[in-house]
Symmetry: C2
Subunit: 445 residues, 2 copies
Amino acid sequence: MTPELSQLFEFLRFPSISTDSAYSGDVRACAEWLQAKLSGMGLDAQLHETPGHPIVVAKNEHRDGVPTVMIYGHYDVQPVDPVELWDSPPFEPELRDGKIWGRGSTDNKGQMFAHVLGVEKALQQGELPVNLILLFEGEEEIGSKNLPAFLEAHRDELKCDVIAVSDTGMVAPGVPTMGYGLRGITCGEVLIKGPSGDLHSGVYGGSVMNPATAIGRVIASLHDADERVAIDGFYDDVRDLETWEREMWETVPFGEKQYLEETGAPAAVGEAGYSVKERLWARPTAEVNGVGAGYQGEGSKTVIASEAMAKLSFRLVPDQDPDDILRKVEAHVMKHAPEGVTVEFVPGHSGEPYLSDPNSEFGKAAQSALAETFGREPVLIREGGSIPIINTFKSILGADSLMLGLALPGCQIHAPNENFHVANFEAGIELNQLLLKKLAACSAK
Amino acid sequence: MTPELSQLFEFLRFPSISTDSAYSGDVRACAEWLQAKLSGMGLDAQLHETPGHPIVVAKNEHRDGVPTVMIYGHYDVQPVDPVELWDSPPFEPELRDGKIWGRGSTDNKGQMFAHVLGVEKALQQGELPVNLILLFEGEEEIGSKNLPAFLEAHRDELKCDVIAVSDTGMVAPGVPTMGYGLRGITCGEVLIKGPSGDLHSGVYGGSVMNPATAIGRVIASLHDADERVAIDGFYDDVRDLETWEREMWETVPFGEKQYLEETGAPAAVGEAGYSVKERLWARPTAEVNGVGAGYQGEGSKTVIASEAMAKLSFRLVPDQDPDDILRKVEAHVMKHAPEGVTVEFVPGHSGEPYLSDPNSEFGKAAQSALAETFGREPVLIREGGSIPIINTFKSILGADSLMLGLALPGCQIHAPNENFHVANFEAGIELNQLLLKKLAACSAK
């Protein structure tokens, strides 16, 4: 085993499960280990207390005239249940079949530690070519709840020109992938009330609007026959895909076949006129995350429920505004709920969509580092999900994020048998060194 | 307290809860008490074992040339939970405000015992004017599961010309009510499957048919803009309301105002062109008794569920055939489920609609007994619910049932503080005597 892998294994052995207070001591021990590692490399590494788990920040000595680069990652991990489905213990990492098996191997310890080791190698060769800020939090898996306040409080020390994040995926093995966009989100719950209590569907059925029927109608009203979202004004501010994006994405080795394999869905269904990739990465959606009313147990119960609910979420793309969309959703729900019930719409959380220019000076530098590391030009994609912290970085620190994900399909993040390809771990170390070199050649702001 | 009330109170004190095996001994004790009471009246009273609770049958000595009348009732009762909501203990009956308070006071001990006491009074005056069969079961509240086999096995001894059942309601206090029809029912469950597991709605949302959306569309497809059931052929065999029925029902002191008070619904909504009463009693329905998919807990979870389900039931009217309707429902569901999911339809239980002629010779006799008892002409109604045993009587014994309900709005059957008006109890005793007299004048088959 290489010394790099042994160190990663040491890091992986901490059960730094952030959501479970039984592991608080392990999370802290992991942060302290990380701080010690970074100090040992010659960086100024600090462990910052928060109301939750610590944040570790490490910097080299900054100087004028070179760009300031932040590398963000997280040392906390997901729980391991159901632990009986693991082929080897989640916190006793193993090498098998060219992969590192263990909780956190991909998400995110393996990816972030590749950056740490890249920096270490660069430091062994002399001064770093950039002003570096390493920012590692211990609460990403529980919503990064203390990070925004920390960024606000340390806005000046954390000022940077660009941020690199390796916490996303590659579209396929060997295909370097840079993400430059994320969908936003807004959520809300529809609550429908009909009769004051549950009714016997025989004695009373036929002259009362059934809340379960009403919620079905509201759900059915969300899309038109082309599977477009049928809410008035929903697409008003949607920015069209650029021609270069549609052309680029056609070359990305991911499509309907892989999507159907991954999801197990019988068919790919979505907005007419767009490919699977375009629908996932650049088009907004309306989804029902939950619906419930009446009797859901075994057998039958001839009841008309007094209430029904549906949880809705909407993935947003530039330049949709979550608050504006939420108002339009509410108006739509009120308009489409049938007569004979009362309707309440309870807004939920929101997050802005994110889009940066992958061909900015920094973006080009990152593309070049990826190309050199993997021996082929990277594909440029957006992500269908939302990573709220990227928007927070943008709004508080003013810097864009380069998403240089190293996860592969099948890496089982958040699931049993999480794994990380050794080849990607090693590529990550190289990528970091090249990235810092290429970014150093860009203009500092 | 009258001797009649004391005896009823004795009957009510048995906690004859059929669904809870902890009370099996009490159910049996109640049946034995009833058998002893009927034997003491001079009837041939037998307690018949079943795989469940006993059936009590009592007969006078039958003779040729007079009609054979069966009176059906049940001595089992519903559970009493939540017992803390009762103003007086459910099995310690009390008289307050002109009402008898206790579990079973209306449903069905009070009503059936009025018949018993009516028969007792008639016997005290001499021979009964009819051949009488009293049939009292102990499993009505758990679906009368052993009664059909018992009827089959004793078909000859139970042969009768007409059946009287007091287990329904009066539309308003002082308004004698005869029911001559019941809606039938058929049920089924729609199971929708999409992706093989729950999906992240950000990463995967937009190109997969969401099962929760699909179930909403199926539900929304059940009705048209006039709130008619939109299933092809659903109304093909629906028998139109007779002119006399529509005219009669206009005089029934029950309508939208009372319906809204009882249900607490914001508005009466139903099939265009029909009144509330017509919709409840003589028009078929499609109801969603339950719907469920995805996350239904607090807050939000951005998931696309792999499955969704809806439990549907359909109230049927003559001459709809439950099997035929079930086939049409299944075809409709298959046709209206969107592309991108698989659909399964699981048929549930069924029951035929029931309709008899209220103006038959026996019907006229019952109307006359009701009119004389209450001092006004009875209203003739149908019931929105289903009473499967009435169809079973018809199919096995070949006899129609006269539904001479004595329950009043507010009697709280199946709920805490069940009560029965003393006036209705006393009216029931009188009604029985008049009924037997009037039926005696009808032709025996």
